[in-house]
């Protein structure tokens, strides 16, 4: 056993190995989640460098708090939750005031996104760049609501704001996002380029 290679045949075994502070389990755990989690961090961050900072801080938290994970089967959602909360904490120090006070002249026509039913596949790097260029508050709420599936009550609780603020910020954020997608040509004439989507 001393020199044999330890294998973790299930997520439960992997989590339990991490809870025993086994370095091999931690390595395997890191391998399993690194790509996906850095992707999430990148959505919430302005730059890749910031994303890596959030990722590092979050993963250290994951390993230190993994004893709190009592149902190893739910590790996927638990890790994602820790990553998102770390990202929020990271930006709480820098963008909270911006979120509450940003007044941006959107100058975008009212646009009903429900008219568009055929959203195709685009170069994800372009979309990441558009998200990154959004003000931090809008980016956070778009991520939380549209991509990660939190509702306004949950978002309000996580960010320490009113649900109505969350709703209004989402509306503004969506408008700004669409405007920027139009600017880079992903959406043309208020419609999505069929060839690029």
């Amino acid at each position: 056993m001393l020199f044999s290679k330890r294998r973790y045949n299930s997520l439960t075994e992997l989590v339990e190995g991490c809870q025993r502070r086994e370095r091999k389990a931690q390595n395997a755990f890191y391998e399993r989640y690194q790509g996906k989690m850095l992707g999430i961090c990148r959505r919430y961050a302005r730059t890749l460098s910031e994303a890596e900072d959030i990722f590092q801080e979050a993963f250290i938290k994951v390993f230190k708090k993994i004893d709190d994970l009592h149902t190893p089967e739910s590790a996927d959602s638990w890790v994602k939750s820790v990553i998102i909360r770390t990202a929020l904490s990271y930006y709480e120090r820098t963008t909270k005031k911006e979120l509450l006070s940003a007044q941006i002249d959107l100058n975008v026509q009212d646009w009903d996104s429900s008219e568009f039913t055929s959203w195709g596949h685009v170069d994800i790097e372009l979309v990441v760049k558009v998200l990154s260029d959004l003000p931090g508050g809008y980016r956070t709420i778009i991520n939380l609501y549209l991509i990660d599936g939190y509702n306004h009550t949950e978002i309000a609780e996580m960010l320490g704001i009113e649900p109505s603020t969350s709703k209004s910020q989402l509306m503004r954020g969506k408008k700004l996002l669409i405007k920027k997608l139009q600017e880079i040509g992903i959406i043309e004439d208020e419609r999505i380029q069929p060839g690029r989507l």
Partner: protein, 409 residues
């Protein structure tokens, strides 16, 4: 995240974003991985506990071996050897003291003192070495009741001897016998060497040509000189070290070796634990008005970073031992040495010089315990590879050494 945002249940923009990011992954740089794992607490306690346990077991084993040898034969000043043979008897059997001669010659019996042992019977056979060649050996025995009964047939009238002895006044009998005050056999278990109280005798000094051994445990507090070398991408003034929590470190060294020709030759295991916390500022600043025409400028920081590094070394060392000749300092010794170690956790070596001063505590020969301060200083740098930093460690600790004399030449 539970998908409960049903307020805008039809949200093509959200669905498209979700779908686009569903398989979105990025690969972190290898340095990120190193930083994550460097910040994790390692399970080093297990190794330290194991090492300490082994050391204690080794010390006990050494002492047991030594003590059992001493128990086999206890010499008396009269040139007799008391052979001790333990006979385990059930607890309910009370040892009965009887004296009987095994020889047909009626020479005066010699008495042996038997320690009181409530649950063991001890048979003590006293054999006069000087009379080995003589035909009449005197054999005194104290045997358990059952054994004595089984042997009674071969013994010659023990009751008569007993009666004749009891007829003699005790004072006369004791005065007529060459009784030697033997050290009582208190227990068959060894005991720790007794520290001699109020001893004016100088501590034993190992002869140069004799070989001794030693085992040391040195818990220490570690410090380090940290070098942050700048490069065009690094802004040093943005680094802020956390006050009390920075530079927390501790260590332990376990060493064993032998002493000969006035030098100590040792193999050592060293564990150094470093914890360093710091913040790194980013390029954003926050301006807060604190009064009329007064502003407070605060630089944003990314987050608190922590470098946690456990270094384990195995090395070889040599030290010159100095024993003071001045009477007032005879119970002290000093040592100065050099040690080269290699890290088990990273490919680094470290050379260190060390100095110690010890107070020699007089204990039962051949052991000696020395206790005193120990200082060790690195003579070149170690690297924190993930950060590109260098540091030079030094430790201050307390050395506790158990030593003993070995073979003399």
């Amino acid at each position: 995240m539970n998908g409960s945002n049903q307020e805008d249940f039809k949200e093509p923009l959200g669905d498209w974003l979700k779908e686009s990011f569903d398989q979105f992954e990025l690969t972190p740089r290898p340095s990120t991985r190193k930083r994550v794992f460097a910040a994790l607490p390692r399970n080093g306690k297990r190794l330290v506990n194991t090492a300490l346990g082994l050391l204690v077991a080794l010390l006990l084993a050494l002492y047991f071996v030594k003590a059992s040898k001493e128990e086999v034969a206890v010499s008396t000043h009269a040139g007799k050897v008391i052979h001790v043979e333990k006979v385990i008897t059930p607890r309910h059997l009370v040892p009965v003291k009887r004296m009987a001669t095994s020889s047909s010659e009626k020479t005066a019996p010699e008495l042996a003192t038997v320690a009181k042992q409530p649950d063991r019977s001890v048979r003590v056979a006293a054999v006069h070495q000087s009379s080995k060649a003589a035909s009449g050996n005197v054999h005194n025995e104290v045997v358990p009741k059952k054994n004595q009964e089984s042997q009674s047939k071969s013994q010659s009238q023990p009751e008569a001897v007993h009666d004749s002895l009891s007829a003699i006044p005790p004072g006369t009998l004791l005065a007529s016998l060459p009784i030697i005050a033997l050290k009582p056999l208190e227990t068959s278990l060894p005991v720790w060497p007794k520290i001699v109280a109020d001893s004016n005798a100088p501590a034993p000094v190992l002869k140069k040509k004799a070989t001794g051994w030693f085992l040391s445990v040195i818990p220490s507090q570690n410090f380090q000189m940290l070098y942050v070398r700048s490069n065009p991408q690094m802004v040093i003034e943005n680094i802020r070290f956390a006050g009390l929590s920075s530079m927390q470190s501790k260590g332990i060294k376990l060493a064993a070796g032998f002493e000969r020709w006035g030098f100590k030759w040792s193999a050592a295991y060293t564990l150094l634990q470093y914890r360093t916390r710091f913040d790194i500022g980013d390029q954003k600043i926050e301006i807060e008005q604190t009064g009329p025409d007064q502003y407070k400028i605060k630089r944003h920081y990314t987050s608190t970073n922590e470098i946690s590094q456990d270094l384990r070394f195995i090395g070889l060392g040599i030290a010159r031992q100095f024993n003071f000749r001045v009477p007032a300092l005879r119970s002290y010794s000093a040592a100065a040495g050099l040690e080269y170690t290699r890290s088990l956790s990273s490919d680094q070596g470290l050379a260190m010089v060390n100095v110690s001063l010890s107070r020699k505590l007089p204990v039962q020969a051949p052991f000696q315990i020395s206790v005193g301060p120990y200082v060790e200083v690195g003579i070149h740098d170690l690297k924190i590879r993930s950060m590109g930093w260098h540091y030079r460690p030094y430790q201050v600790g307390l050395s506790v050494t158990l030593s003993g004399a070995g073979k003399k030449e």
